[in-house]
Symmetry: C2
Subunit: 209 residues, 2 copies
């Protein structure tokens, strides 16, 4: 059966995105440099460079294998409205998902198909209904809760996240969108499954206890 | 020369202490169980059990060596007023520091010597002055910024922390005292020095870049 997973980069102080990270204010508090420092490990991976057509070369070790595995296992993505709206203007025409993407929104809108296998479906009746649709389209593959933080929090609070993968980078943002807040008490129960340590980031993998 | 270091346990959602953790409300939101889950790895270590007279036995592997090293390297501690006040009523008569402890406070108070080598000194002229005093008494040994979160933040913002050691436990508190907030922008620069992975906690060690 499909697993439901989160796979995100995180600053050491717990932020998924630095304060003011939007395309319309590119210089705000140096967010681009902060984001780049957090994701530097990913930009060096051969699979990622090839997939996003960033150029040839790159690392081919265990982190690269992990990045490939994350892409290949994913049969559907779920994301929030803000993440979609920022991506709508920033992603290339061939959006980088290559799966159905379920967007949580109150808006009613027809599905939007992009070249390369990404189709956005707009779901206005809640996270559980989005998950059902994602499960139907993912088949044997897994479902990624892509973000933003508020959407990940919703699925954590529903107790629906099977695997939580965090690339913890040694950078401080000092502000921004926190991954872990607004969680119910008691919170979800996870155990450590695996830690992959590199000089650029610590790749933490937790599974539901 | 003495290093200035932080060594703390942290919940996965970034808290040093669960909400309402005070001795006068022991049942508040189950804080005791949360704290215990975060620190379970430490209570199992042979050195810790012996030092705190919790009983014989315990683990003797690399985590135990790390705990011993942390205690043995420490020539002085610095802590905040709240941490001291909570400890004043909770620590055994032989307070568990065995070094001079510099307490940041506005109060003027004479030094308070405890059996076993712990003497509390009350410093009312700021964190830099407390550090100078700690450096004078620590000799070749190192200085631990013990907590709470606000004191650690002050020393991070002053750029004075050389080493940041975090035992990241796979537990969620859902609220409490966050370690990383109120940090200046740009924040302090650290790099990953070492990761020691165990089933109970991920021991992350960062050094100033």
């Amino acid at each position: 059966m499909s697993k439901i997973f989160v796979n995100i980069g995180l600053s050491l102080d717990g932020y998924m995105a630095p304060e003011g990270m939007t395309m319309d204010q590119p210089d705000y508090k140096n967010w681009g440099a902060k984001w780049g420092a957090m994701m530097a490990w990913l930009l060096k991976q051969q699979y990622f460079r090839e997939t996003l057509q960033f150029g040839s070369g790159g690392e081919t070790g265990p982190v690269n294998d992990m990045v490939r595995h994350t892409m290949e296992r994913t049969g559907a993505n779920i994301m929030g409205k803000k993440m979609f709206e920022q991506g709508e203007v920033a992603w290339p025409e061939e959006a980088p998902f290559h799966t159905p993407v379920y967007v949580l929104t109150h808006e009613r809108r027809e599905p939007w198909a992009r070249p390369g296998g990404t189709t956005f479906y707009f779901v206005h009746d809640g996270p559980e209904r989005a998950l059902e649709q994602a499960q139907q389209s993912a088949g044997d593959r897994d479902i990624r809760i892509s973000g933003g933080a508020d959407v990940i929090q919703q699925y954590l609070n529903l107790g629906l996240v099977d695997e939580l993968e965090i690339a913890l980078a040694p950078v401080f943002f000092g502000g921004g969108r926190r991954l872990f807040e607004n969680l119910r008490d008691p919170g979800p129960l996870f155990q450590i499954d695996r830690v992959l340590s590199t000089p650029e980031a610590t790749h933490l993998r937790y599974v539901r206890a």
